[in-house]
Symmetry: C2
């Protein structure tokens, strides 16, 4: 099913073209690390949100128009910020701004905070790479276990370089992107594991408060309970043990396994 | 893998409890149809967005707090509107407002417009039922092929009744929700099919315009190209032929099939 690898790179004709987006905004430390590494590997094109867009999932904007602002243009490097969501930014890049030449690879992140397991569902960073593969571009999301806005993401750069080089050289299976999570630990990473996404669950999701006027309001918060259903295969399991994790991820959520049972239930 | 059906219904002790949400807002025609049918089947609890939230995917709100307003409370029927996204509404219901008794089934919709195939990715209606199954509740999303705000969704009500009754009676496979799409056609539906999600693609995604001050802006729009990779199995294929489609859907997007290839690529 995944035997056919896709790669659009044309190494002989010109440098690789690398698209970068994120959900933390064009000015975050994480995206600066991606740009720094990518510029050593090829020409770089950035389209990133003007403001922080964490937790936006694959939200798209069609009630208001989207605007772009060119923020950098020099030899081998072009950057736009856009008013929309992470998915909007990726769609703008892939369907409009780069219409003349699709990128050879798309990178997203480095997210300030994990996008492992169930959190893929809510992630704007993953939304970027989903758009990448939907447009036929090999795509990799990077997320770092430090949630701070001033996180030093330079520790992730060797990982970004390794993965991006391999993907540029050999492509990725069709319709599959990579969800790379990097632990925030003292000392060196223990290694790299290819993992499943941990479909644990969020508990204690809301904190109920009362405002000065006596009215209720709720903050979304919570604690993540790891499932590790596969016993030592999941991303959270290995992140906790100091490993960089790579979860191959696709868009399609059809549950093929239950089609017969649902036919029996409804037809 | 899906042999264990879950159902939380306690038919002997009390009426079924049915949670309803949507992404078109608490006052849309579609949710009124769901409430109408559900009230004939059990007690109904609504938590729905205050305003239209189409295309919000599984976006969640944590930069601002979420507020709720009780808009109806009578025998067998309680309804709140909330300031957040569809996923926020579902989480508020399942983790906070219904903490004493989880619903026996969750319904979302009826969406004004299809959520078939790839559009599942962007759908706030699907976000609701994803929260449902993440909280262990059998969950069904309904979407109708009429995109108009004043769509007459009453034609969908017999479908809602049939599916909801069966799910209340027999539950659903664990971790699987149903994505039901209902065609907008003259005359009777041709039948019902259990389908795959059509992972086609959007083309012509942006319309570029120039504002009165001479500045660029972009409207998200586009045309959907059906893939029907499985040749006559996909939801779009059967919707075009006048059938109601039911796509069993799960949250996990791990691409298990490519794990070995990715290990070979990176490790």
């Amino acid at each position: 099913m995944h035997a056919k690898f896709i790669t659009t790179i044309q190494m002989d004709s010109k440098k690789p073209l690398i698209l970068i987006s994120n959900d933390d905004g064009y000015n975050s430390n994480g995206i600066k690390s991606l740009v720094k590494v990518a510029r050593t590997l090829g020409d770089v094109f950035v389209v990133a949100p003007a403001v922080h867009q964490s937790g936006m999932s694959s939200a798209i904007t069609f009630v208001t128009p989207v605007r772009t602002t060119l923020i950098a243009q020099e030899e081998g490097y072009t950057a736009y910020m856009a008013t929309g969501t992470p998915a909007d930014c990726a769609k703008l890049a892939l369907s409009q701004l780069m219409a003349d030449r699709l990128p050879d690879v798309m990178l997203a992140g480095i997210n300030h905070g994990y996008n492992s397991g169930l959190n893929t569902l809510y992630s704007g960073t993953m939304a970027c790479v989903f758009e990448g593969i939907l447009h036929g571009v090999p795509s990799v999301a990077f997320s770092f276990g430090n949630y701070s806005a001033d996180a030093d993401t330079s520790v992730c750069e060797p990982i970004v370089e390794h993965v991006t080089k391999r993907v540029l050289e050999r492509g990725l299976p069709q319709d599959v992107c990579l969800n790379v999570n990097i632990p925030y630990i003292d000392g060196a990473f223990k290694g790299m594991k290819v993992t499943t996404g941990d479909m644990g669950r969020w508990v204690n999701e809301w904190e109920h408060r009362v405002d000065p006027k006596g009215r209720d309001y709720y903050w979304l918060t919570g604690d993540f309970e790891i499932a590790d259903k596969d016993q030592g295969l999941s991303d959270f399991y290995w992140l906790q043990r100091g490993y960089v994790t790579v979860t191959p991820t696709h868009v399609d959520q059809t549950d093929f396994a239950s089609m017969a049972a649902i036919s029996d239930l409804l037809l």
